[in-house]
Amino acid sequence: MTSLPSAAARLLRGFRVFDFSSAELPGEARRRRVFEALVLIECAWANLVWAEYIAHVESIAHPLGIAHHVPLDWMLDGRVPWLNAALITACLALGFARRVPWAYAAALVLMLFQYAARYSIGEIPHGANLIGMCLLAFATAPLLFRDRFQAERCVMGLVWLSISIGYVSAACCKMIATGPTWIRGEYMALSIHNKLVDAFAKSGVYAPSALQDLLVEQRWAGTLFSAAGLCFELGSVFVLHARWRPLALGALVILHLGIGFILEIWFRSATLVLVLLALPASWFAWPARERLASGASRAARSADLS
């Protein structure tokens, strides 16, 4: 039987954020590449959507981020956001093609301006924060490592850190602003009414779902769902744990689906990224011949270096 201290020691040893020594799993390299492509597509798409909206922005009414330091009125010229979106897309493509090591960093800097110009009129959404953090990881790693394998492993470590810090921070904010009573069903009911009014204003139709009705009328159900959400956020610390990572990521996917169905806020980019990272790497190993070759070559390489 395993003693408690040894179980705790094993648990602690499992917290591996930056892993440069273990062998590549079959499909792991391809999953990283698909993940990278997904983040880049989401970034490019977000920039186009922001560019379209900036045309409606009259002035930088409530400066956000970089807009506190750089006047962004020039961004409100009709063509500038589109030109910026085109430049960002070009930088993302150059980064993906591994042509220019600083291409992702340039894309990130240009996105700071695009984001600030779009959201300096009041609303502060968080739908693009995770892809922004992923882009920061893509931008940082090639500047640290010239070896592609090590740069890609570094990216993943930075991504695990970003996910974990983000969700734990969200849980901490709730504990600081409200405390443990944050999980009360009444608070959930008030938030649901808020989102129902938002949906009504958007669509002109007031139509709560059966789940929303249940949570508004049965406060214990709201308390249960809120408590589960808070646990999932705090549990994101296990994204840093090699063994429990898929489970922690899966819990965050469930959290986002819950937010989507209950509050009608769909964090599409973040959810897609989390789903992709939670999937087993072996699902990306095709054909089988490549699966074997990839595993063998990485294992040999790791053995050489260690």
């Binding site: 600030a116 009360r184 008030l190 204003a201 406060r219």
Partner: protein, 167 residues
């Protein structure tokens, strides 16, 4: 790139952790000095204040002459005059609209013009009433209960604007 560019795993991990420490310091410094938001960094404060009252805006389209005899008192959603105006169909962001309406202290000509610009073509040929919707928890003997109040706040048509009377 070739494997010859690789550093030993232990050295690579040290380098990655040092870079992470620098990034975390930048993260902390930026969110601490920018009210928790500096994209892509954030402290993610959304929904952190349980039970916090909220204010939104809902728009109704009414008959041109309906504004003159309209009540400006709070009323239930079911008895609001006119038909709901679907903002999304006209490319209007309701959160931005709600912020604009709730942050406007006095409805002068400039603020009304800003509102018209936000609505764009959607406002043309229509009489629109903007209701301020406020949600909060009110204490009752059975415990806190959600109260949502709809109150006409401002109305516009092609030629004029009204805020509890003509502006």
């Amino acid at each position: 790139m070739s494997a010859g560019l690789a550093v030993r795993p232990e050295a690579a991990a040290r380098r990655a952790w040092r870079a992470s420490a620098v990034l975390l310091c930048v993260y902390a410094a930026l969110v601490a000095t920018h009210e928790g938001e500096f994209w892509p960094f954030s402290i993610y404060p959304m929904f952190s204040e349980g039970g916090k009252p909220w204010v939104r805006t809902v728009v109704y389209e009414v008959e041109p002459r309906a504004v003159a005899g309209m009540s400006w008192q709070p009323q239930p959603r079911e008895s609001l005059p006119g038909v709901p105006f679907a903002a999304r169909e006209h490319g209007i962001e309701v959160i931005d609209l709600a912020k604009y309406i709730s942050m406007t202290q006095g409805w002068d000509a400039a603020r009304v013009e800003g509102l018209r610009r936000m609505l764009g073509e959607a406002a043309r040929g229509r009489t629109l009433v903007f209701h301020r919707v406020a949600g909060r928890l009110v204490p009752t003997p059975e415990g806190p209960t959600v109260q949502v109040e709809y109150r006409p706040f401002v109305a516009i048509d092609d030629g004029a604007a009204y805020h509890e009377g003509a502006i």
